[in-house]
């Protein structure tokens, strides 16, 4: 008993620095932000904090009534639900290709596919804006040539989000690809050899060996991708500024505009907390859906 207590005290002693840092740099700011989300702190309050008023949950209620907020939420879910799976699938396909037994120059392809992840988005955006151009862009010239006709990628409210998704998938798939490659390399070759002896086809091997063995990697990749994609910001910020007709306005971009462009800090803090709640729920759901290990 006594020993246990002493050990517990020692453990707390070791944990203390981390706990203090977490409290100072995470817990306190989060609480302060939550406090702010209950006020109408704005540009007038920047000058004279006494004019900020406690408004309870009014900020949240106004947001739920605001069509702009719902548009931002809808766009963000569109991006997460379409872009997320597409990104994971692309990463897995790329990982399988790069990791294939017959593939040569693996190192080169790994680096080439990873290159977009480490390039600056602003530079990339200039190139992509040109690619998407309805008159001079190579994508539309190709579509025109094969007879589909031109698409006004960034100018049409229906096509702007798909354009952003394609850009984001291209920009990000390399990172998950590396994680999948690591997962693939951890699968023992004996399993494949045995399956091959039993006459399993490529698809059967993929379905019954690769996928189940990758399950933990999948969960990790899915959660990290989802969290990252909920925070969609830079792509629409540099490509479309949220337009046309707010079709690419994401929740984080909306929060940025409210907070740092218009200085409606109370509103921006409320948006942050709603996003936090959504991401928490989505993560919990993914944990629930995880295949049970035997």
């Amino acid at each position: 008993m006594n020993v246990e207590r002493r050990q517990a005290r020692a453990a707390w002693g070791f944990l203390l620095p981390a706990v203090v840092l977490l409290a100072a740099f995470f817990v306190l700011p989060v609480l302060a932000a939550f406090g702010l989300s209950l006020t109408d702190f704005d540009v007038y309050a920047v000058a004279d904090p006494s004019v900020a008023r406690f408004v309870g949950i009014d900020n949240y209620l106004h947001l739920f009534e605001s069509p702009v907020f719902w548009a931002a939420l809808r766009n963000t879910f569109y991006f997460v639900l379409v872009g997320g799976p597409l990104s994971v699938a692309t990463s897995l396909a790329a990982a399988l290709l790069v990791n294939g037994r017959l593939t040569r120059w693996k190192g080169f392809f790994r680096s080439a596919y990873f290159a977009p992840v480490v390039t600056t988005l602003v530079a990339v955006a200039i190139v992509w804006r040109y690619l998407y151009h309805p008159v001079f862009g190579p994508i539309d010239q190709f579509l025109d040539w094969i007879g589909i006709g031109r698409v006004d990628w960034l100018g049409s409210p229906d096509w702007a989000m798909p354009a952003i998704i394609i850009l984001a998938v291209w920009k990000n798939f390399g990172y998950n690809m590396l994680i999948f490659i690591a997962g693939l390399q951890a699968i023992p070759d004996d399993l494949y050899d045995a399956a091959e002896l039993d006459g399993a086809s490529w698809w059967q091997r993929f379905r019954h060996i690769t996928l189940p063995m990758l399950a933990p990697t999948f969960l990790f990749v899915a959660i990290v991708t989802m969290i990252g994609y909920f925070q969609l910001f830079a792509e629409p910020y540099v490509m479309t500024q949220g337009g046309p007709l707010r079709s690419t306005l994401s929740v984080v971009l909306f929060m940025y505009e409210e907070g740092f462009r218009w200085w409606r800090i109370g509103n921006a803090a409320a948006i942050a907390f709603i996003l936090f709640a959504i991401m928490l729920v989505a993560t919990l759901v993914q944990f629930r859906l995880r295949p049970k290990e035997d």
Binding site: D40, D42, V43, Y44, V46, A47, D48, P49, S50, V51, R129, Y130, H133, P134, V135, F136, D152, L154, G155, P157, M239, T240, Q241, G243, P244, L245, R246, F260, R261, W262, W263
Partner: protein, 427 residues
């Protein structure tokens, strides 16, 4: 040997010290291009005022607003800054910048009447002057004279009806895929200046409520939306315009409403063969020459400056007609001071002449801290009516409701502070 070194060090220290000890150092924030070119004027100011040194800092325009507010919160504001004149009301209400009335009374060489009245007015908040105009900016029409000539007109008409007629002729005669006017949907200047021309105050009751469903604004909005509806202007945002100058050179667009910074750009980027085939014209109005926006930058003095007298000297120096003319040659920005327009280059250039005419007819946008947000909402209403399938009435009703909500805090504060926002105790 050692003695010589010591003596040399002393000498160096003494030399360095003498200049620095007595000197007052001013921090001067200038934005973007202006900061790059203003250095020679600042150095000349230092030569004329041996006791004052100026620490010139360049702030990029895109980060300027955020940086000004964070500097204010963090107690790190400069002594003098260049400020886009639509930001003057916000910083005045924040108590960040100082009123200049008493300094102006003591400085007859900076007479308010020496500036364009509309431009001067943008700096006057609740009856007090918070900035001295440094250079001016307004919007007017840049157009292709050869394309206009094909419609049978020698010059841009002065009325909306005439203007529209010319555009319709350009359109019917039009080359395939070409448009008579480029007016990007995400720029607020055009719908706002059309509304000001129609006599709309944009906001009413001292900036307490929007005036968007009133007849003047609705009239201008109808004209604005009609230009897109009848395909006289393409339904695009400026992020979708890949190369404006190329489009203009190819005749894809015959005219464009823009500001003086494009005078230089058009000269540099259009091919030589086109240089005598474009011109500028003042804005047409509903029934005769119309008003345009009173834009530009002002020089302001921060309340927390430790050296307000020296800071005012710098502002005074930069506002003198001679420096204003030199600044035009350095930056291409049009002078705010009328005397500076005696400059031979300015007088000889007919393309600049149109700006000179327009500057006598410029009107400020509403002087409220919320203006930028309101301006964004106005462009969004336009976009909804043009591309979003909303009726004009619907778009304006939504806009009015949005703006009235934005102004709620302003109304409350006005009520608490007896109808004005400037007089309050800074914490």
């Amino acid at each position: 040997m050692r003695a010589i070194a010591l003596a040399a060090t002393c000498l160096l220290l003494a030399c360095g010290g003498a200049g620095n000890n007595a000197a007052v150092t001013l921090r001067f924030w200038a934005m973007g291009h202006e900061a790059e070119v203003v250095a020679p004027l600042v150095r000349e100011f230092e030569r004329a005022h041996p006791g004052i040194r100026v620490d010139l800092q360049q702030i990029p325009w895109t980060a300027a607003h955020e940086k000004l507010l964070t500097a204010y919160v963090g107690n790190a504001t400069p002594d003098v800054a260049q400020l886009g004149n639509t930001w003057v009301p916000e910083l005045a209400i924040l108590h960040a910048i100082a009123p200049l009335d008493s300094l102006l009374r003591a400085s007859p060489d900076v007479p308010p009447a020496g500036f364009f009245p509309g431009i001067w007015d943008t700096n006057v908040i609740e009856g007090r002057v918070f900035g001295i105009p440094w250079y001016v900016d307004t919007r007017l029409i840049f157009y292709r004279t050869d394309l206009l000539a094909r419609t049978g007109s020698k010059q841009m008409p002065g009325t909306w009806a005439g203007w529209r007629q010319v555009m319709e002729r350009l359109h019917s005669d039009g080359k395939p895929r070409g448009y008579p006017l480029l007016m990007p949907l995400n720029e607020w200047a055009q719908p706002v200046l059309l509304a000001l021309q129609a006599g709309s105050p944009i906001l009413k009751d001292g900036g307490r409520y929007g005036a968007f469903t009133d007849s003047a604004f609705a009239h201008a909005f109808h004209f604005y939306v009609g230009l897109y509806r009848d395909s006289l202007a393409p339904k695009v945002a400026n992020t979708e315009v890949a190369n404006l100058y190329q489009d203009f050179a190819r005749g894809m667009i015959a005219s464009y409403i823009t500001g003086p910074y494009n005078l230089d750009e058009f000269r540099k980027r259009l091919p030589d063969s086109l240089q005598d085939r474009w011109a500028t014209a003042p804005m047409p109005g509903p029934d005769g020459p119309g008003v345009s926006l009173a834009g530009g930058s002002s020089l302001v003095l921060f309340r927390r400056s430790a050296h307000p007298a020296e800071a005012w000297e710098l502002i005074r120096f930069l506002s003198a007609p001679a420096q204003q003319a030199r600044f035009f040659h350095l930056s291409g920005n049009l002078p705010a001071r009328r005397e500076a327009w005696q400059d031979s280059t300015l007088r000889a250039d007919p393309k600049v002449g149109a700006f000179r005419q327009q500057l006598e007819r410029v009107v400020p946008t509403p002087k409220v801290a919320e203006w930028e947000l309101i301006a964004t909402r106005i462009t969004e209403a336009g976009e909804r009516a043009v591309r979003g399938g909303q009726s004009e009435q619907q778009a304006l009703a939504t806009l009015e409701a949005q703006v009235n909500a934005i102004l709620a805090k302003r109304r409350t504060l006005l009520e608490h502070r007896g109808g004005q926002l400037l007089e309050w105790e800074a914490p």
